[in-house]
Amino acid sequence: MKQLPFIVFFAVVSVLACGPYISEVLPVETVRPADLTAYNERGELGVVRPQFARRYLVQAYRRMTGREALPAVGRFGPEIDENATDARKQWSEAHARFAGVAPPPIQTERNIGDYQWITNCLGNAFASAAQTLNERAARYGAGSSQVREWIEAQDRVFQNCREENLALPDPPSASADSTARADRQYQMASAYFYAMRYDEAVQRFRAIAADQTSPWQHYGRYLAGRARLRQATTAKELDRARLAEAETELQLVLKDASARSLHASTRGLLDRIALTAAPADRLRLLSAELGSAAAPTDQALTDYERLMDAAVGDTTTYEYDKIPNRAALAATDMNDWILVMQGSGSAAGQRALTQWKQTSSVPWLAAALWKATPDSPEAPALLQAAERIERPSPAFYTIAFLRVRLLTLRGRNDEARTALAALSAPDAETVNLLTALRFKLARSMDELLAAAPRLPVSNRDIGWTYIDERKLTTDPIFDDDAGVVFNERLPLARLVEASKSGSLPARLRMRVASAAFVRALMLKRYEEARAIAPILGKLSPSVAADMRRYEAATGPDDSHLAGLRVLLRTPGLRAAVKGIEDDADQGEKELSRTFDHLFRRNWWCGFDKGEFDRSDATSQILRLAYHDGDVPYPAFLSAEEIAATKAEWAALTAVGTAPNYLAGESVKWARARPTDLNAAEALARAVEGTRWGCKDKATTAASRTAFQTLHKLFPKSEWAARTKYWY
């Protein structure tokens, strides 16, 4: 008798060597709409949810207030600055052409303290250097001393991008003409700039600005402004005096007609100064622009998000009451609305109602409906207003969903059903959301089953892994509302009914039938298990033979043992009906006859934990369709059925985790029928199950007992020979 040694354990499998790489298959996305193209480019909103990222709420607000869609919502800044890469390449090529060698290695990042780096030398510096070099080569000749000296000086300038010590170009030679001298003045100023000697750089750039003969004259004031801005923002604490100087300098650039080519860039720098110096003011301006302008810039959206992240945190859920400086942040109607939509707590609901009453606007109606509680005195007025929103309003599906939701929360289910019956959705995610309401309102088992399957709309990578792009299948899935109802809100008799019905797609029907069969066995309701056996045999042909044997068993004892045999031979017989699945689940078209070594999802873990815990679920549906996420018993269940559901749940909870239960039952079987070789097989499979199934503190003892029983009662059996360890 022996336990599996550690060393063997480590050597056995390496299948989990990396990954595993799986993704959840979602019927409703979390912080964004599922159909981004429709939402971003055409402004088709579907059902706008409170926990959307702020850029999607900006789009929703614009569309609900009659503005054009903002395609910038779908554009995120590039992670790699392609222009900078191209500019570096241009510089390298020009350097190689005229100096005969590649430029020295240039590190563009510089440490500014507190373990923080900035990109000190931007892409346009290299593009400008390459262009100037080409021009000077054309002017002086490719092999001229002027070009050689210019290149040497420029290499020295770029040395300052990273290095701590100032590297200055040599002074111009005595024979240098005015252009070469002006170039050198510009290079000297640039060297000081990159060396972060900003006072010296500003002085030199101003001198260049004052030099009417310099080809760099119109850059002088602009670069002095940039130097002051860099100085202000790289200081340990923001240097407001330098920031003000930068603004003054750059405003002068805007007044200089000869610097027209720099005006667009200058305006960008002034925007940045405004954002840095007075974020609240800038946020107000940006949110006003985004909410109402015909075509706000991508930068406005980026800056808005950055400022909002700084103000409320990079999250879409927060307590409304605890938003710092909320009044200032809510200075525009759009921002007020976004804070209310995302914010939690009764104050957010109160604000939504107040604003809706004042404005009667569609966005505030949506916010008020999202926040409405079943007993809200304003609910009747909200419902009346919601009924008036019709197609083609971009808010139509949001308001329609919320109207039905509020009707159900207030128990006006017939009205809700009538409203739902008139709705058809334009996209899969909206279909799923409306179907969830139909599921909630089901008056019969048939209606419940018809509304349980959903369409997959998204793959979401989970686990600490890389994201692999995978094709989204069209195979229907359940959401967590179905998971809760099938697991915890229906008695076994209803699960049997669902298994017999042809309403569910085959794979989902197999899942429900599997749970029903396992539960029937555990509850010792063998006739109900017998009713499901042929269904499972048909849905999963690999178990058909065992199911036929089960059907042939007579009497409770034989039925029990036949059921145990099927279970032990079929680790894919699960007791739970999962809501949100991952693609590994979704790929299982039959009940697995072998142990799942990878995820170890074999049989069940226990009804009081494991697969029934939704505390960390990704699914949105319980929050979106139900009040406080609480899924009630289906309306068509009788009081007796509800009582039966609760009693069954208590009995199933007492069974515990599958490996322990199966090991214990196998031992009883063997002791009762010590010459039955099927019992030997059961013991062997039970021992193996204690390796791959869900374990608890009692598992090792259960494994050992089953192992010992096998070797004591069936020492010469092939099953004993195959079972060398307990776990």
Binding site: V12, Q116, D314, W464
Partner: protein, 246 residues
């Protein structure tokens, strides 16, 4: 933010010795390390005995070369805080094969040891099985490039510590299995870690996330790395300290 993890920390009696007066010299062996990722972080008011493992740079590799992107956000810490400089390695499209390319990457990683008051270096690379030979070489090169005696740490997928033994002879002082964001394998892996199944190299430290249920007993003597998907702020750290005092 949920602090279920903190109950675990208290249960593991990890924090009891570390919550005390601050401004003491950096502990050479802090029991708790906070991972500080790419966002502005102010950890000036840490309890003594708590260190910081901060993202110093992200290296993106390809088959030909690598690009190092240094930290963009400030990290403020007390001079007494024990610091580990973390390099995150991303390999979306293959890894370098040439020895000189791997050595250049190692030099960039080792250079983080020169940052002010950094005591140790950590590499965070979820290498695929096919990338392990390169990773092994990289670790040897980093070890060679570091000053003698510099602790070298690496993070590890939980499965590396359970189902194979490629970590056994790597030239590192510490392996930190990341027991969070593991999807459906989470309960299984945590259970196995709890029931002593981790490889020897993985028994000195464990990485957890503040927003996930603990589910594992952190034994005395293990170093605990904490990831926080939200921001570390003085308030967060204070709340954590208050929790663990209970």
């Amino acid at each position: 933010m949920r602090f279920r993890l903190l109950a675990l920390v208290a249960a593991g009696a990890l924090i009891a010795p570390v919550v005390g007066s601050r401004r003491e010299p950096a502990s050479p062996d802090p029991r708790v390390m906070l991972w500080a990722w790419e966002r502005p972080v102010d950890l000036l008011d840490l309890p003594s005995g708590v260190g910081v493992a901060f993202l110093a740079q992200t290296i993106t590799v390809s088959e030909a070369a690598h690009v190092a992107a240094p930290r963009r956000q400030p990290l403020r810490v007390d001079p007494s805080t024990y610091l580990v400089a973390v390099t995150r390695v991303e390999a979306p499209a293959g890894v370098p094969e040439r020895r000189d390319a791997i050595a250049a990457m190692a030099a960039d990683i080792a250079s983080t040891r020169k940052l002010p008051r950094v005591s140790a270096v950590q590499i965070d690379f979820d290498a695929r099985a096919s990338q392990r030979p390169m990773y092994r070489q990289l670790l040897h090169d980093v070890r060679a490039a570091l000053p003698p005696g510099t602790p070298l740490s690496m993070t590890a997928l939980a499965s590396w510590c359970l189902d194979d033994h490629w970590l056994d002879d790597l030239p590192v002082d510490e392996v930190v299995p990341m027991l969070f964001r593991m999807g459906p394998t989470q309960d299984m892996h945590r259970s196995e870690f709890e029931t002593h199944a981790a490889a020897p190299a993985c028994r000195g430290a464990v990485g957890l996330s503040l927003d996930e249920p603990a589910g594992i007993f952190v034994r005395r003597g293990k170093r605990l790395y904490l990831f926080n998907p939200g921001p570390w702020t003085p308030a967060t750290v204070r709340a954590a300290s208050e929790e663990v005092r209970r």
